[in-house]
Symmetry: C2
Subunit: 174 residues, 2 copies
DNA sequence: CCGTTGCGTTAGTCACACTAACGATGTACG
DNA sequence: CGTACATCGTTAGTGTGACTAACGCAACGG
């Protein structure tokens, strides 16, 4: 009783997603992430921010100033991409980038007063956005979800730290 | 007692992710999805498949043959991208693409014998990959997770069907 | 002194989601 | 019956995110 083609319900298949796909966690994750990312990006764009901005500002606030490389490690943003993010933040006077006198390779990034003021504002925006994201879930369920995700994330960040490159495997056709 | 900079634990910040970020569901989702996607893509690549292949084959198996547009709707793959996916599947003789005599705009896509044989193989591969993906969770927890994700997905697919374009909002700088 | 390692930066790759526009066809309606 | 509109398959292109490669420079370590 899986297919619904020969029966009396005329189903050209236009209807909806196959069962095999609907319950596939990897698929649920990527679909939901697509929605989530869109929601967050749009919301942050409305206040002229991006999620990387928040990540960097939060990191500076919690751990204090640091080099770009350190920031990269804290936030998970690649150091190649960090350059641009810091440019954007500096343009907006949310951080200051000054050369480290003790190690002339480094820049030291500091959160500015303006950046410090910005952070709670972004907290609020994100909070509201997550309210929309998690709308159908009760507080307890939201908690469950973040705990489950947290555990998975822990597991996978331990076993596969970034830099573990994606393999390109056997291509038969083409 | 939030920051750990002035105390006795020398924390250049290289350590780890700020708390604000770690518990952010949207962030957990995208990070986990990155890992998940990598895992799945690599796993499928090893058997010369991609997730879209699976999606299309599963859809054909469950709902029977259909036009490319119908397949798009079932799988969530955009019809612009469906072209390429079907090319790949046809190259591998997993589907057949024949013009619909009743509607000359349409192609009718049918799963081939080979495709039908392929599907359980992919089921197995995906099953194993999900075992790795969800490794730290008990069966009950895995179930919880998929139910929570399912509900969120339901909610957001109802309220924001694809085609709801991402807004590009006020850019002050640049 | 020299090799390695870390830093900031530039440039480029690949996949994904999505838009725009096209020509050919089908459908509805006045 | 004709014409406006919708749908189909297809091509091309956009923006973002994650990531690699390579660079020149500076620091560290033997």
């Amino acid at each position: 009783m899986i297919t619904a083609e020969a029966a009396d319900m005329p189903d050209d298949g236009t209807s909806r997603t196959p069962d095999r796909l609907r319950r596939l966690p990897s698929r649920q994750l990527s679909q939901l992430t697509t929605r989530s990312d869109r929601l967050i990006n749009e919301g942050l764009a409305r206040v002229d921010a991006r999620k990387w901005h928040y990540a960097v500002l939060a990191s500076l606030q919690e751990y204090g100033p640091g080099s770009q490389a350190a920031l990269s490690r804290r936030t998970g943003i690649y150091r190649s991409d960090m350059v641009g993010v810091l440019n954007e933040l500096a343009e907006r006077d949310l951080v200051e980038r000054v050369p480290d006198p003790d190690d002339r390779r480094r820049n030291i990034i500091t959160i500015s007063a303006r950046g410090r003021r910005r952070l709670p504002r972004l907290d609020k925006v994100l909070d509201d956005l997550h309210d929309e994201l998690l709308a159908p879930l009760s507080p307890a369920e939201r908690d469950q979800l973040t705990r489950l995700l947290g555990r998975l994330l822990d597991y996978h960040t331990r076993t596969a730290p970034p830099g573990t490159a994606p393999r390109r495997a056997g291509e038969t056709g083409e």
